[in-house]
Amino acid sequence: MALIEIEHLSHVYHAGEEGEQTALDDLSLSIERGEFVAVLGSNGSGKSTLAKHLNALLLPTSGACRIDGIDTREEADVWRIRQKVGMVFQNPDNQLIAAVVEDDVAFGPENLGVPSAEIRRRVDEALKAVNMTEFRSYAPHLLSGGQKQRIAIAGTLAMQTEAIVFDEATAMLDPEGRAEILSIVQRLHEEQGITVVYITHFMEEAAAADRILVLDHGRLVMDAPPREVFRHARELRALGLEVPLAVELRDRLRAAGVALPEDLLTPAELVAALSGKGGAASGD
């Protein structure tokens, strides 16, 4: 059984009222345990609506969303679902609540009635996993945006969630903060096998995932590994998206007759291809 199963899920805001809006339209997909899935789509494509279904913050208008087999509409199970799927939102200032970092991380397990020795252990581990141990007694509002997001991640780790959903968690961060969050996400995924659903507007970040879902008007229009998705530059641009810079250069160079693999993805691959075999460069 997949960790996340979505079947014919539709979500309509203001159903039957003026301003009715279909945000998700008959969406079906599943995400296995341990996957790192990026979600792309223009503003208004339904990405955030999808994210909120994954821990029962929103419920389907029709269709179903199941987390580890539990239907999100089972009201009695909502806390079981939220122990399985954690969320990190866009604005770091909207999700920290306590006056001290370690209290903030402890908030989730405390609410679940976890014994205090166990909470202590989880908080220590969670802070260590996001490299924030030395900030344990700081006030969250004195931290940088990237550090606040790391605390938010630690909060979900302390809940021992199997999956973390990142809803544009790097959108408000500076470049250093962005890089630091992405590297922590990659490490949690690789070392702890955390399932990651990563919503972003940054194509370079999406390229780090195992699989990319592309949404458009609430529908799933692409579902493939980054190498495959980023072969379709024209289609992506038509959806208001972009391709990573290395991919754009790849396509321009190929059009100018430079021999490059058509699924080349990263800057490192581009450098290797162009410098390693300089002779393979020109077609003539």
Partner: protein, 298 residues
């Protein structure tokens, strides 16, 4: 005519345990007609600086002058001059769409000009013009609720509300944060068009170095409340170590081209500082031909 900051220092919450000096002796002249980017790590002082230019904060020490008028005025006469100077500055906040409040797009954009005391016919002309500037069709959108637009469109309405005041200086805090790639490209394009058509001086804060590289002709890099680097983007970003010391990263295109150069692709230093992928591709093709030619000649 220009925005001039002389020896500007500012401290938040002085005399409390949270006291923090945000600006330390800033001297900066922003030339009329330029597009100037203020870049820096979180906490470097860039937003504080922006709020000084907008007249929202006054320095503890030093002066902020717009076209020669000191914004921190004391006498009645100075205050009048300061108010007139402040009105030349249009300030667009971060996530400006959160400040929309009216029932229709027309009313939201008309709010500022009406507050300035313009007659209704002039207000209408300003709204039309501002909507055209942000590529929103007047007849199709004027009566629509701003809250039914996409995030990118809402931000454009907020921008139009400021443009309707005809600012000589347009000051923007993180104008593209949170927008999707198309929204980002369109917004930068609008800023560029406005600059070309009206000669509006643009000052913007960004931690997206791609945006800075794409439209700025002057970059000011701040670090710990002081100016670390200042100059043309290509020159400033070429100083990789200093950029890293400021907690920033070089634009991705420059990093990629520098990596190619380091790996032996014969690109010149100037070629690693080109601003668009199209120029970069052309430079790479030329460099590869040169390299290929050399290899054959040997």
């Amino acid at each position: 005519m220009a925005i001039e900051l002389q020896d500007v220092s500012f401290t938040y919450l002085p005399g409390t345990p949270y006291e923090r000096q945000a600006l330390r002796g800033i001297n900066l002249k922003i030339q009329e007609g330029s597009i100037t980017a203020l870049a820096g790590h979180t906490g470097s002082g860039k937003s504080t600086l922006l709020q000084h230019i907008g007249g929202l904060l006054h320095p503890d020490r030093g002066q902020v002058c717009i076209d020669g008028a000191d914004l921190a005025a004391h006498t009645k006469q100075e205050k009048r001059a300061a108010l007139a100077a402040c009105r030349k500055v249009g300030l667009v906040f971060q996530y400006a769409e959160h400040q929309l409040f009216e029932e229709s797009i027309y009313e939201d954009i008309a709010f500022g000009p009406r507050n300035f005391g313009l007659a209704e016919t002039d207000v209408e002309a300003r709204v039309r013009e501002a909507m055209a500037r942000v590529h929103l069709d007047y007849d199709a959108y004027r009566d629509r609720s701003p809250f039914q637009l996409s995030g990118g469109q809402m931000r454009r309405v907020a921008l139009a509300g400021v443009l309707a005041l005809h600012p000589a200086y347009l000051v923007l805090d993180e104008p593209t944060a949170g927008l999707d790639p198309r929204g980002r490209r369109e917004l930068l394009q609008m800023i560029r068009e406005l600059h070309a058509a009206e000669g509006t001086t643009i000052v913007f804060v960004s931690h997206n170095m791609e945006d800075v590289f794409a439209i700025a002709d002057e970059v000011v890099v701040l670090r710990q409340g002081m100016i670390l680097l200042q100059g043309a983007p290509a020159d400033v970003f070429a100083q990789g170590e200093q950029i890293a010391a400021a907690g920033l990263r070089q634009p991705e295109l420059m990093r990629l081209l520098s990596a190619l150069r380091a790996a032996g692709v014969p690109l010149s230093a100037e070629e690693t500082a080109v601003r668009t992928p199209a120029e970069a591709a052309q430079a790479i093709v030329c460099a590869l031909k040169e390299k290929g030619g050399r290899t054959h000649a040997q």
